[in-house]
Amino acid sequence: MLQNEEFIHEFVEEAMTNVEKAESGLLKLDDASEDLEQINTIFRAIHSIKGTAGFFGLKKIVELSHSMENVLGELRNNRTKIDRELIDLLLASNDCLKGMILEVGRSEECDISKYTIKLAAAFERGRLIAEKQTDKLSDNDSTSERIIIEEGRRHGHKLYRVRLLLNEDLGKKNITPIKFFNKIQSIGNIVDSKTDLSSIEDLDKCLNSEITFTFLFTTVLEKGLLPMALDIPESRIEELDSNTKTEDLLNNAGKTQPFVQHKSGLHNQYKKEEQEKEAIDKKNQPVVFEDSVRVHVSLLNNLLNLASEMVLGRNQLLRAMERYRKDISGIEPILQNIDRITTELQEKVMQTRMQPISNVFNKFPRIIRDLSRKLGKEIELQLEGTEVELDKSIIEALGDPLTHLVRNAADHGLELPEIREQKGKPRVGRIVLKAYHEGGYVNIDIVDDGAGINLEKIKKKALEKELASKSDVASMSDQEVLQLLFKPGFSTAERITDVSGRGVGMDVVKTNIEKLGGTIEIFTSAGAGTTFRLLLPLTLAIIPSLIVEVEKQKFALPQANLQEIVRIRPGEAARKIEYVHNSEVLRLRGRLLPIVHLADVLGLVRTYKDPLTGETKEDRRKTLYDRRRMHFANAETDISNDSYAIESRRSDLNNIIRILVLKIGSRRFGVAVDAIHGSEEILVKPLSKYIKNSKCYSGVTIMGDGKTAMILDPDGIISKANLRFVEDGEDKITIESKENEERLREQQNLLLFKCSGPETFAIDLSMVSRVEEIKRADIDKVGDKEFIKFRGSSLRVIRPEDYLPVAKHESMQDRLYVIVPKLVKHPIGILIEKIDDTVLTSIRLNEEVLSAKGLMGSAIINKTMVLLINMYELFELADPHHYAAALGRKAREEKVVLVAEDTPFFQRMERSYLEGAGYKVLLAQNGREALQFLQENKVDVVVSDINMPVLDGLELVRKIREDDRLRNLPVIAVTSLTGEQQKKAGFEAGFDFYEFKLDRAVLLDRIEQALQERRRAV
């Protein structure tokens, strides 16, 4: 049984690899002049296409590749000079070849004459030169086959002829002709091969009827060994006398119709030449063993599944053996070993699906080359990080969006060479494609050093196309204007060229990237260029997700869509959940968030547990609000013993409402669930056909406990729950709320809490990573230090009251909290007893009333006196070793640091850090003030906030860079704007360093570094 599809598929796959190899080789020739190795590579690639195409009777492919091969042969022998024109011709021919291979069924219809004629002409030129140089050609009797045979004989090779029946000998063993061809090449040299297709009309049939292949080859092996080496019956092999007439070699082997022959007759008189070269080439080459194997993707997927299953099995085993670990001697190392190997196995199997990004990147040199000619621009392409690996499926899906972006960069981004020169830029425009890892994601930057995106033009266009209203545009930030590019129907090119702007626009790029679970960002700076950044997950198969529970059933929710989780305690529900007719909404930061209950969406009956009887009853209340209010109201009117039950149910902790805030595009909604079980990395499996119609699921997974769980599809939930979003209105609200957030940002977000004493403390939330709830018993004591387990390692915890001049009580409270700080090198948790509140406020800090190391001062918040903790000083007290400013104070005393910062709190913090380390500090309230200081004083380093009134940090640094005297002054941004975009914008404006508020150690490091670099520069 022959699977003809598979044969052709294999041919196409192999030929495509070769075409690509040839293409990249040709492109390298383009700039690296005559590189013999390169020419050889191309030659081999084309030759191999010719060889394999011969089996399938693909005459046109054979003919074209043969013509190419001839020219390449001349190149290799240095008889033809490489020039751009010739490479263009070869590239064009190669493209045609690629086209024919991809459409293999129709390749015979293709008109290749325009290539073959030109190639023949090129070949002719080379040959004429050749004739002048040598008279070798006069030996007209000797054919190419003869040369290989002679060549072989000199090395002790014997000549064999193998005749194979395609079905009988190859098909049954699942060997394809191509594999067989390769097999022979691994033991000797193929002289010629022939496929007898006399009885066959077309390609499809050829694979199903009995066909004879005849191979003529030389090898050192004895006849007796060949059946074994080639895995064919001995009767198929014939040893020939190497003096047999060339014409008879193939033809006396049965039928005599040379339907397809490797060497097409077209250039018969020259082929000797080339064959000879080939023979020499082969002689000089060691047999190359492939270091890779082609494996079907489905097999890899199976392996991946099995490996994941193995992980589950391992987990179960470890759990089951936990109790016996001590009892069975020697079991411990075995378990550990299995544990480790399983993890490694899983990782390796995951890796098999990974492919280097060069698979996509490599086509761009060619695209850029074509583009630069077409557009009349000089473009240099730089590829970085080509070794970065991504899941196969992502690599495959990345081609089109990337091509689009690169074309855009070349077409719209880069200016014409003349214009570039006028602007004082190098004539040659640069496009950089850069892939790198960042935070569990792979980023791909497409950078051009062109004109940058003209924001005004975008706005104008958006208005013209009615993609946004005037008032919208006026209030948009730059980033938001850039986002307009992704609106359907947008194209910034003034005219539509055939290079880019073909109607399918950036919106498609964005959708495609989002389909992969990625996002896209734009940074642009007028005159300096534009960067498009794609952020992509490493793999599609495994996604982080949240395990949620509703009515005792667990579901996985992909975290990509999850924005935040809102917990509403019983008493608060009425305050926060409100009604529009019968629909529940939640006021979330000034916006109404529609809420659906997952149980309702899935058609599950909501239940509650009766606290009196312990029975599970159907919950007839239709809304979350009912849960709190209606029954309470009932209880008042209907004075029965029910009221007690309701009362206690109200206070039941399980009645906390947990709302997952999901966002898809601009659509935001809340999903209420019963419980949240934390996050898990899940392996997505496809839905069976029986459930495919259920909208709410996107797949199924097997969780750590071995149970299956459905993966929720937020999009499906929207349609199932009939949520209708008004897109435009939504956008506007987003913008407004963003502005609100911006405005609020310079206020301080404080976490208020109590320790064992009566004092209220506050810490700026920007310094808090998270607050962890622990039990008293979780605290381990080592000496006089206390530790807790946090994310798998131990975290030291301290009690502020031990270090600060405040009251201290023995408390037996069992539930405690630990504040885990953000952005510190040596984290220490702060152990507290009670969280009071978080407030957003601008405070007036009083440093006089209470001053002590570890405290910033006091303030009145909500009529209470609050002590603001200076976390770093506190840590310094607790852990002098890591936190003390130990470095040479003296050298620093001469150094002046200018701090531009408008928030008094941060002013004080930064000042205390810097002065503590021995610097002299100048304080400026805003950018303008800072500039003034700079004119009047000698300053060594500037530390600047970004958001400041009057003149912000970005402007400040731009002004500094413009000033001749200040140009080299190191400027460090210290900001609470933690976005990558802002960071990028910061660097573009001219900051030397960009740090987040506010890690003392990092800030001091940076200043030190800046000073050192400056010293070097001066």
């Binding site: 059933q553 499996k685 496809p686 029986y690 459930i691 097997i702 299956t708 769980a709």
Partner: protein, 143 residues
Amino acid sequence: MTGKVLTFRLEGGLLGIDITLVKEISRSVEFTPVPDAPEYIVGLFNMRGQVVTLLNLMKMIGKDGKKWEQKSACIFLKNLQGDASDQVGFPIDAPGDVVDIEDEQCEPPPANVGGMEGEFIECVVKLEDELLIIIDPLKVFEQ
């Protein structure tokens, strides 16, 4: 038909399927129900890394089937379509014996077994003390 048949009890009746179609039998299966799925879906089950869809056989052949509880016995079929996500099984009350049957014991579905149900019956086997209804699972699950 001729050959070995796996018999099982389902809602009172004695049913059988061609044993060559059976992958395995499990006596206690804990499955995950799928809310919002068609009612003939019992749930999903993780069989060594393969997600198997459990179907309600009675409902599949158009009868009123009972609601299945956890830890029921199940028959899992071999995957005949080659698509790993379409692995199926169905819960049963109790597995029975494997019996050899001969053509002469079999009769086509009687004329009065009509409609949908009849379509899925391959044949009826006259055992000594009882009738064994052989169903064609391919027809049932391929509809």
